[in-house]
Subunit: 454 residues, 2 copies
């Protein structure tokens, strides 16, 4: 590991100490005592920078608030953790969080009508319009995670006992949002390739109508699922949903922010995306976009009137509970957005690298890919029961030998100890990193005498 | 303004650029080209630090992502904005956000049973226990803002048509959470001092029972309200609620994190606090705490079963939608927590400074305090109609003259242009800053020939 990394963090933290002196000072400037303290902190900073230049190890292990370890996973390792890859912050997002971390930092210039998405300095209002355009929908709101988007839609459309069509690979948060609204999930079965098809969706809708006597009130469908990251026939499903006059919620937790998404082309009524999963943003963050048709219901404004005071808060949206992401979370989304928009256009390159890695893995005898292949996503479920797990059976560290081997090569994010079926995500790795990753797997195989095809 | 401040931000941002080189490199270290880039960024950093030392103005105005202004309000100004004061990050929280900003940063060591509040590295599980203890309740969860705590409780307890007792000064998010659950708010009127009393609460409950034939299902009450920050008789109200066997939700958005809160002593069933308002944390964040009695309902785990796959996600809590704050928001709460705990014990000092300022303001002829007085909070509503507004009437800048005068003295956060009734918050200002603030008001009065008592 590069011993400069710890010192880069120490320098950042020392600058925060310097900044704090300004925060405690009078607007007229630092007094003599503060100036002296300032000089001392600056001298400490210079020492750290000299250490960086000279490659000297950090003089102390920094802990945040005395107890929290500094997280250097992204600096010290290639991280293949399945859900972390596309949520890594861009440098601009990190700068935004430095500048806008304080609680209600978005509210400096909040004026009538006092709602987050109307604020123009910083350009939150414009960002909301851009977000809607980005997924080709009419209106967008930021929400505290994709799950809060599901919740808002389910709470609007689903009444007690209503059926909601989901995939047999639906994420648990879809289950919870339906359950919380009093509804019942009805899963569309997968075909032999673990894909949800339009036909299967139509059959399921028919079945629900037959069984319950009523049409499902919502189809909530993942374009790519969280288990295999297989691509499901979302456009076909959209057509089916509309034939039955059922609205479609497009779950783009694994798509919005990494690949182009055209909500209207898909026939989506709602598009939900995740900021911390796929838009390089601080958690919890996400987007709920919709067509104009749904604004009066899903974005209905409050009608509640105080019985004594007659107070009304007319502009506030009930499902959003008013304002949603009032600080650093939103600013991280906004700061990453130009990069995020641009990177979706380079999705094909990500797929090439994903398939390059998978192809190299498949050369290791006994390895299998459980996701559809060739890969249409960077998240992949693999089965190494007949390759790396054969070693784990007799190794004194069991499956952890594999984690040890990866870790010693600067690779992390696999599920520690798992050597049978597990998931990895190559999103964001550059060409050199992906080759290094594939080489490392090959080396480990060779070390343990698992045959590798040339 | 201190021209070093811009350069402190430039230095922080330059370090993020340096950090990014590590992120794009191989675990084996930087290659020649990266080393060269590294040297260049380091040289730039050193230039900035030299500028800081020599007090030279920043060579360029930095924008984040090319468009977002750097926010230096807390460094360049004394900020008296009503809702921002206690949400300012501590230096440790800023360091936590630097280290843990990336999307799902909390999930590195997530193991069975896969729920945020069970993670022990970093110490999230321990933090949850500490949080519950901090407000003297049995269980706590972090939530995306106090409003999401109201929502979880309302969604659990309130059915269509149910009545919920709130204050005539209730925050709009309380209205929305009740509305979203299908309930109706019933406001307790204020007494002549703008206080909600236990008697008035009891009367209101009686009235609701008489009118609707049913008992209200919840009392949701602010200890200190958002308009005047008056203290309401929350313990008395707790007793009344329990006499009628109605659970009490204690809204601590203006208390938890700034003053000691003892939920059980108050008789609260639920305690809700705001991270970004009063716990020096990134938005959206907050806490929902409760007694053990409510865990089976408000923290019920999912019972939904997939009809095809038979999948269950048993440990996930329905109202939380599973995990809540999976990244920088939570780590900012955790990093600020030791400071936050300690500062609640110094609340009396905050009150002294709040009252010092208010007393000085009252010496300016015509000025009034609309909040209860002496102040029991640092948030105060003032009326300067007969003092500063008398100048606005004839000034060509109208009420903005007052903002201009404050701003030229390095003070911000008043509602720009407002010179009649407006709010300010002195929370977190040190002794020198509070005197400076009071002096500035006096100076402005004198400049415009508004009489000031000695």
């Amino acid at each position: 590991m590069d011993n400069r990394i710890d010192n880069v963090f120490r320098a950042l933290f020392t600058l925060e100490d310097l900044r704090e002196i300004h925060r405690n000072a009078l607007p007229t400037g630092l007094d003599a005592e503060e100036e002296e303290q300032y000089r001392q902190v600056l001298a400490r900073l210079e020492g750290i920078i000299t250490d960086i230049e000279q490659g000297r190890a950090a003089k102390e292990i920094t802990k945040i608030a005395g107890t929290i370890d500094v997280r250097t996973r992204e600096e010290n390792f290639i991280n293949i953790q399945p859900i972390q890859a596309a949520g890594r912050l861009t440098p601009e997002a990190r700068k935004a969080v430095i500048a806008y971390g304080d609680g209600y930092s978005t509210c400096d210039a909040c004026r009538k009508p006092f709602r987050l998405d109307k604020i123009s300095r910083p350009g939150i209002s414009e960002f909301h319009a851009d977000l809607a355009k980005f997924v080709n929908m009419d209106q967008a709101r930021v929400v505290p995670g994709a799950r809060r988007g599901f919740q808002a839609v389910a709470s609007t459309l689903v009444a007690k006992g209503d059926s909601v069509i989901v995939s047999a690979l639906a994420h648990y948060t879809e289950f919870l949002s339906v359950e919380n609204a009093g509804g019942v999930v009805k899963e569309v079965p997968l075909d032999n390739s673990n894909i949800v098809t339009a036909d299967a969706t139509a059959q399921k809708i028919e079945e629900v109508i037959r069984e319950t006597g009523r049409s499902p009130v919502l189809v909530m469908m993942d374009h790519f699922d969280y288990q295999f990251a297989n691509e499901h026939d979302i456009s076909g499903i959209g057509k089916v949903a509309h034939q039955y006059d059922i609205p479609l919620l497009y779950n783009g937790a694994y798509t919005v922010g990494v690949m182009p998404v055209d909500g209207k082309k898909i026939g989506a009524d709602f598009v939900v995306g995740s900021g911390h999963k796929s838009m390089a943003s601080v958690a919890p963050s996400g987007v709920l976009a919709m067509t104009d048709e749904w604004v009066p219901s899903a974005l209905r404004t409050t009608g509640m009137v105080g019985d004594v005071t007659k107070r009304k808060f007319g502009i506030k949206e009930v499902e959003m509970l008013g304002c949603t992401l009032m600080g650093g979370t939103l600013l991280s989304m906004m700061a990453s957005f130009p990069t995020v928009k641009a990177r979706t256009l380079r999705w094909d390159d990500e797929l090439k690298r994903s398939n390059y890695f998978v192809d190299r893995l498949l050369k290791i005898s006994g390895s299998k890919v459980l996701s559809e292949y060739p890969r249409k996503h960077t998240l992949t479920k693999v089965d190494t029961t007949m390759s790396f797990d054969t070693v784990a059976k007799t190794h004194k560290r069991r499956g952890f030998y594999f984690s040890d081997e990866l870790s010693s090569r600067g690779i992390t994010g696999e599920f520690a100890g798992a050597t049978r079926t597990w998931k990895l995500n190559t999103y964001g790795l550059n060409g050199r990193q992906i080759r290094y990753l594939a080489d490392a797997f090959t080396e480990i195989a060779q070390k343990y005498e698992i045959p590798v095809q040339k």
